[in-house]
Every structure is written in structure tokens, then in C-alpha cells.
Symmetry: C2
Subunit: 285 residues, 2 copies
């Protein structure tokens, strides 16, 4: 029961576990995020590829390594489903570039947002076949560059963005590769609704397959911007401490990424957002 697990969890989370996912402060460039982390005592970040591209991978690698930051993940590879052969070639090239960037930054993993159906938006099964094919094609290169691939199931409301919609499905897919370079990334926003969550967390934990853990909250509002309407920890309906306890018990002790994709927060001064991140991370995650 949630109450029992809550009481077993420590009262506050040590800041050492915090990884600031860059999209939480999308208003900042990568060098600005790195600078802010220095000021706030945050030792780990997750880097998105657009802001990496903005400064170039050489400069990105330099500022991250000069600051001594750990990179818990690069967001993101994936979007595997393709319409035609040209599209397929583009998908392969883009994912190889993502693996290279993750390797350059020494990231713990490359997050895979797997993509939804293309062409016929109704054919989710075809998308699932193409996702498997995409990971198969990428895996040898990921092994060569030692970049673990983290399949992130997305909330079923985002099935057009990822056909992988539950942790059970992500576990099935990850296990089918039987490779230490394929695992899962668990974001509470995407999986909290699932009755079978506890079983599935235990399962990927037992396999050593948990490559990342992301937190934010699900705001219970009638008209929800599913992609960019997420809340800070404690502002919504997700029992984050319970899920974190399950993740802890499953053996994951890596960084906990705060990934609050929120158009509202992007309008605010970034320092104020980061203050909220730290406070709600320690009190409500």
C-alpha cells in the first residue's frame, strides 16, 4: 500500500541524486544550464540534442567536461517508424548521430522515444515492428561506442509519439534483445496509472535494466496539454515517493532526472524554476 511505502522512504532526497533535465529550463542554452548547475550545486544534467546542436558537439563536450558534470542521459534517439526507404535512411543516420553525441558527452544512456505510426497513423502494430527493427539496426553501434539504449515508454495519451505505451511493453521489448546495452527509462508521468507498475519495476530491476528514472507530476486539469503541461513534483496526482521506493527497492541508485516539460515554466526566470526543482525534488520526490 502507498502509505506503508511512503513512511519507509527517507524524508528528503539528497541533492546528489538530482539530475536537471535540460528541457525543464528550455529557456537556457546548454552553456547557461551548465553555469546554473554550478551556482545551484547540481552535479548531473540530461542534455537534449537541439541545444547540443545549437553550440555544436565540440563546444558542448568542452563546457560539460570543464564543469565536471555527469550526464545522466542524452534526449533523445528513436522515432524509428518510417514511411519509405529515404525516411528509413534518415532515421538510421539520425540515430547513429545521437549515439555519437551521447558517447562524446559520456552519457549514462541514450533515451529512446520510439515514435508513433507514420504514413497510416492507425497502424500501431507496423510502428511497433519498425521500432524493433530500428533498435536492432542501432544496437551494434551502441555497443561499439558503449552507449546503453534506454527505451522510454510514453503515456498512452502520446501513442502518436511512441507506440511503446507501458513499462510491461518496454520490458518485453528490452528483454528480447538480451543485451546489457538495451534497457528501459522510467518516467513517473508516463507510467503512474498502471496497475501492474510494481510488478514491472521489479522485473526490469531484477534484470539490471533500469537505465534512468525521471520525475515530474501529472496535473489533473480538464484540458491538459499532454506534452508540455507537466507539473513540479507534488503539484499533481502522482504518488512519486511510492514509485521512487519501488525503483530504489529494484536496485536503481543512479541519478533521478527532473524532467518537467512545462510551457508555463519556460516563461519564468530559469533561476526561479531551478529553485522550485530543488525544493520539490527534496520534499516531494
Amino acid at each position: 500500500m502507498a502509505d506503508a511505502n511512503n513512511s519507509a522512504a527517507p524524508a528528503t532526497l539528497p541533492l546528489e541524486r538530482l539530475s536537471l533535465n535540460q528541457i525543464t529550463v528550455k529557456q537556457l542554452s546548454l552553456p547557461e544550464v551548465v553555469e546554473a548547475c554550478g551556482r545551484f550545486g547540481i552535479g548531473t544534467i540530461s542534455a537534449w540534442r537541439d541545444p547540443i546542436a545549437e553550440v555544436g558537439i565540440d563546444e558542448a563536450e568542452r563546457v560539460v567536461k570543464d564543469a565536471g558534470l555527469r550526464v545522466s542521459s542524452v534526449c533523445r534517439g528513436g522515432f524509428f517508424p518510417y514511411k519509405d526507404d529515404l525516411d528509413r535512411q534518415r532515421m538510421i543516420a539520425d540515430n547513429r548521430a545521437a549515439v555519437e553525441e551521447a558517447a562524446r558527452l559520456g552519457a549514462d544512456c541514450l533515451v529512446l522515444v520510439c515514435g508513433g505510426a507514420t504514413g497510416d497513423p492507425r497502424d500501431i502494430d507496423r510502428a511497433r515492428d519498425q521500432i524493433r527493427e530500428g533498435i536492432e539496426l542501432l544496437l551494434p553501434y551502441a555497443i561499439e561506442l558503449d552507449v546503453p539504449l534506454g527505451i522510454e515508454p510514453l503515456h498512452p495519451a502520446m501513442v502518436t509519439r511512441s507506440a511503446i505505451t507501458s513499462l510491461g511493453e518496454a520490458n518485453d521489448l528490452a528483454e528480447s534483445f538480451d543485451s546489457s546495452h538495451v534497457g528501459v527509462v522510467i518516467d513517473v508521468y508516463h507510467v503512474f496509472w498502471d496497475k501492474y507498475l510494481e510488478r514491472e519495476i521489479r522485473r526490469c530491476g531484477a534484470n539490471g535494466n533500469i537505465l534512468g528514472f525521471h520525475v515530474c507530476d501529472w496535473l489533473d486539469v480538464p484540458s491538459l496539454e499532454i506534452f508540455q503541461g507537466r507539473g513540479m513534483m507534488g503539484d499533481g496526482v502522482i504518488d512519486i515517493p511510492r514509485i521512487r521506493s519501488l525503483i530504489d527497492e529494484a536496485g536503481y541508485d543512479g541519478p533521478i532526472e527532473v524532467e518537467v516539460i512545462s510551457a508555463a515554466n519556460w516563461q519564468r526566470p530559469a533561476d526561479s524554476v531551478i529553485q522550485d526543482v530543488i525544493h520539490t525534488f527534496q520534499e516531494s520526490a
Copy 2:
């Protein structure tokens, strides 16, 4: 694969399978819906309880029976989770009244929208326990009045409205009662994203547990009104013919309810909405 199933399905659906779920034309009173069904040659409806209450159950029964309409379902019982004992008593009384209304209208089933967590909105597991308790309490009365109870899993985006979020979970719950008076209601809007949908449809079909089938479509727009932003069949991303084929193959041959909860359509003349219902039902469901 979807293509193969599509081609196996008949080109158009016979109007005899259509049930007009009243909320699709919320702008009409129950007598007005009944009158419109007469003009459009629709022989089956699903009645919601608010419009039943508006005219009273006696009048509702009279207009429906005088028109010779079949009632595929009454929407809805459920919302079982309770905060305290008073709330629990209210939940029981309200659900007994729902069973009585369904019996009076001779409905094929009472749809259960099971409810989300109350009190602590984060405690979904407690909500699930209370849902089981609620159905246990209601079942003897449902058997007495011969009203089958149809557990409808809702989309995980609506977990605060129903803690039962997948067909697999609804099947687990329904089977645990081992009663011909507990089954499931399948709405494509709520379940289309599920990788394990085919398996779960076969499962409830084999048990004779499919009590109803609802269609509408999922519109792929960035800011979605999850509850009242649904589309007509063919306007969104759901492969409805595929799911209908699966339902057919699972042995369900009852009415197919068109339940398009759409604030946009409620602003339009009801006759025009009904014309769209008939057209898209025949062409795209």
C-alpha cells in the same frame, strides 16, 4: 496486421448494429433523442442518467418502450471510491438506483465508470480496492434485477475518473467475480493504444464477458480535451475496423454504441450530428 483485418471486414456496417449513445447528442432531451431515432431509423439507444432524471424514470420508461427502442446500456453506475462512511452510503444508494433504472428500461447492461482516487488523489491502489468492494456490494442486487454490470476501462489519461485503465485490468477484475452478471464494456477510445488489446479482446470474448462495444475516434491534436474532445469515426487515429473485427471474432454481435463525447458537436444542430453518426458509422466503423 491491420491491413489484412481491414480487408476481411464488410465494407459498410448495417444500421441495425448502431446504438446512439445519448451523450453524442447531449443537446437533446431523452424524448427528443427517442423522436430523432424514429425519424432516422435508429432502433437502439444508450441512455444517460441525468437526462433520465430530467423527465423522471416513469416518463423515460414510457417514451422508450412506446417507441419500441432497445436500450444497449444505461450510463452509468460506478464512482465507487469513497472518502468516508457517509460517502460510502451515498455511493451504494446511487448505484442501487442506477441498477433500478437500467432494469426499468430493460437495458442490456449498466456501464460502470469505476471512479478514481478520492481523499488522497495519489492513492490509486486504495481506489482499486474500493472499486472491488463497490462491485461486490452491488452484485447481488444486479443479479436480483437481472442487470449485467459492464466494467468499462477508461483511457489512462483519465485515471482520476477511473482507476481501471486497461482491458487487461478490467478482465482481471471481471473474472474475479465469476458471474454472468459482471463483464466488460470496450470503448475504442479508451483501449486502442494497448499492445495487448487483441489478446485481451479474445480473452473476454472466450468468457462471454463482452457486454458492450463503443466507438468514436481519438483526435491527434496537441491540446486535447480528453473527456469532451472526441471525434467521429474516421476523423482520428484509431483503426476502428480492425478493433471491430477483433470484437466480431470474439463472438460479440450486439449493438455498437456511437459515443462521441464532443463539446464541439454539442454546439451543432442535433440532426446534423446524427447524420454524421450514421454516415461515419457505416463507412468507418
